[in-house]
Symmetry: C2
Subunit: 191 residues, 2 copies
DNA sequence: CGACACATGTAACACGTTACATGATTTG
DNA sequence: CAAATCATGTAACGTGTTACATGTGTCG
């Protein structure tokens, strides 16, 4: 869904051809989410099928460009004015993993948390390293990339805080409450 | 990927039948991520095809149960010992949206941010309301649900902080730097 | 009885990924 | 010239979603 709307937004600016769409997407997000070229073409086909884009003739170099239709413009407008729904949040693999690790007996939750924590710390360091490269040129795409990087940083920090919180919470569960599996899972954190 | 591993983890505890797997998954995650029953069956078929689960005969009530194979156990062990890779993070629709909103001319970024902010605040309030319901019973699944809820809370808080950060960053871009689109986008925040 | 939860499936579709095929153009 | 980048596509596959079909058991 993100790719579809991303392509439409880019075409809102001006008609573009397939390969160009990928370049624009990657430059504006700093290559954070690499976009397979093939997917651009298949998505464009589907968007044409759904009447959101249409062929707009060739440019000077003979590239087949695409432009938004009426519905396409509306779709973009709706996308930008409608907040991303957190009512049914996307599945978070880490949260699911931890929830199951806590309830399934025999899983070493303490080690799981520690491993994840150091992995997230590494990711965080990579982001801050990238941030130093991001600035300087002053282009609009760099502003965007900076914000994208910040979102990754904020998310990684939140993840680390949550992991610490989980560790503390499990430790508390181990000492206070003592029913069945919760205690068994929590024990492994206290070691 | 998450569903596949979630089902495998549940079967690590004991052999179960399809419908039961959905119930267990939803109770352990507090229904945060509703799981379509149909997907359980199709996933089980695929897992059998891949040699990770096998039929384990019927239980007392005539339900066809599934158990892990050797490879299945290994897969679960690997899942629990391998951190979730943040090296190539999943596409974040909000971050993509904002990155494009900033670089595509004519988008009212200020309003976008404010709308998203209030949507995220609402979600956050819903989570804290749910938290009050979550505690009390002291079962292991409630501990898990509590942690899942906390992860949503932490994520929502981080999102809100990031949105505020974006607003400030854009406001700064509007006053200091003055090149083309960045300024145009940032102007709308200052209004 | 009628509604609802339990229970098992299947079909069609949407989205995304990887890999492959093919050719033009650019650059060291 | 060789390699890399530009450029357009297609095929196969994995995962997930929705909707439908079908039947049993239970409870008000």
């Amino acid at each position: 869904m993100s790719v579809k709307h991303a392509l439409l937004s880019l075409l809102e600016q001006e008609p573009m051809y397939g390969y160009q769409l990928r370049q624009e997407f990657e430059s504006r997000t700093g290559g954070t989410w690499p976009l397979n070229v093939g997917q651009v073409y298949t998505t464009l086909t589907r968007l044409e099928r759904d009447g959101l884009v249409e062929a707009a003739g060739e440019d000077e170099d003979g590239h087949e460009r695409w432009r938004l239709t009426e519905s396409g413009h509306e779709e973009v407008a709706t996308w930008f004015t409608t907040p991303v729904a957190r009512t049914q949040p996307p599945r978070d693999e880490l949260a699911i993993k931890l929830a199951l690790a806590v309830t399934v007996p025999g899983v070493d939750v303490g080690t799981l948390i520690q491993r994840q924590r150091s992995a997230s710390m590494t990711a965080l360091q990579d982001y801050t390293r990238l941030k130093r490269q991001a600035g300087a040129s002053g282009e609009a795409s760099d502003l965007a990339w900076g914000l994208v990087l910040d979102s990754l940083v904020f998310a990684a920090e939140a993840e680390i805080r949550w992991l610490d919180h989980c560790e503390a919470r499990l430790r508390r569960a181990a000492t206070q409450e003592v029913p069945a599996t919760a205690a068994a899972a929590a024990e492994q954190v206290t070691r």
